[in-house]
Assembly symmetry: D2
Amino acid sequence: MLRVYFGDTDASGMAHYATHLMYLEKARTEWLWDAGVNVAETNNNDRHFIVRQVDIKYHRPLELGELLTVTTTIAEIKRASLLMRHQILNGDTLLSEADVKMVYMEHGRPARLPEYLQEVYDGVRGTN
Amino acid sequence: MLRVYFGDTDASGMAHYATHLMYLEKARTEWLWDAGVNVAETNNNDRHFIVRQVDIKYHRPLELGELLTVTTTIAEIKRASLLMRHQILNGDTLLSEADVKMVYMEHGRPARLPEYLQEVYDGVRGTN
Amino acid sequence: MLRVYFGDTDASGMAHYATHLMYLEKARTEWLWDAGVNVAETNNNDRHFIVRQVDIKYHRPLELGELLTVTTTIAEIKRASLLMRHQILNGDTLLSEADVKMVYMEHGRPARLPEYLQEVYDGVRGTN
Amino acid sequence: MLRVYFGDTDASGMAHYATHLMYLEKARTEWLWDAGVNVAETNNNDRHFIVRQVDIKYHRPLELGELLTVTTTIAEIKRASLLMRHQILNGDTLLSEADVKMVYMEHGRPARLPEYLQEVYDGVRGTN
């Protein structure tokens, strides 16, 4: 669960539009961590995901102090990229949703996704 | 012109994906300011734009220290909303591009865009 | 517990120096929330704390992926202000420490702190 | 000159307290750039400044849309560190002031400051 703090909001009184991307990143990173990707370790070895595209729809503003959950699923997996689908929710209420396309890079070039991510995906697909 | 500072980057060595949205906002706000919208004044009168949707493509990472320009055009104007199109460039090189749909709100509800914005748009359309 | 995400870091590979202030705010807000201050509600009624001074020492950089705790104690309480003392820790290792002086504002002016905060403080002082 | 954008503010309607540190960094980086330090190049060679301490006083909140200048002077220079002094101003009005102690690092260890920085400092001291 995430809470919306002052630093996440702007003078409109609601979360700033870039804040949603911070929340998505947290959810995505924890998802990857659970799937076996230690982003710190891979980054030290010059392996990381870069974001290639984000399509985000803001349905309802996030209010100061609000408690949120962010869901993460894989919508598509390719040789060197992942399409992640996120929803930001307060209980059952959908606040925003986003598709994030990420490319896996090794030493500055797109590279084949690690096999365990493929396996995680096969498992995840089964339960969704 | 914008420069990429340490605070705009992340441990990959490049600008963080949410940083692009900060740059777009700066360009958009200056565009609006030039068009006669003092965002501070309108915000104090409970009038502001909210972002409804962002579609952004990241073509080439932004490097620490790089000098950028951001272009802003209006792709579409409706009764209560604007579709703004941005490009982040280094010289002629396209680094990212984004469509940002914004809805004009007065007292928490979508409202008719101020007339001078309509006029600005008619002028802008002529020159593009 | 907080984790250091990519968006919290910069191109040095460590957390950006302003990120520490985001973490302090989270800890402080949760502390206030536990003490009975719903910052969203008070903000809507034009009551909020403003930060008057921050003195922060960075002892050891925060690494990408690191798990942190942030402690919050009140070092001093006055009629209209609080001095909060924070430590950012990884286990027993002190990473940074900060004194944050906050003034309580009502309708744009310093105002007497709510009585329940005084009481919380008396309680907290007892246990420290 | 810097302008305060929505993303720099929070739900209090003013700039967030961490935003000041972003502004200081911009001023400091441009100062260093003018002094001959290309922070991108040095960072690629595993040389960078880390911030060891910040003492900042917030005198007057920064408003949405406000235009600011940030001054940078060197208050002290040592073998491996700089003490930079900043002021954030709107015209002649002092909004915040900060002392930032930075240590120069090479390959993860404090290192002797480059000689040209010493020279710049001697020049700067002459004119202040």
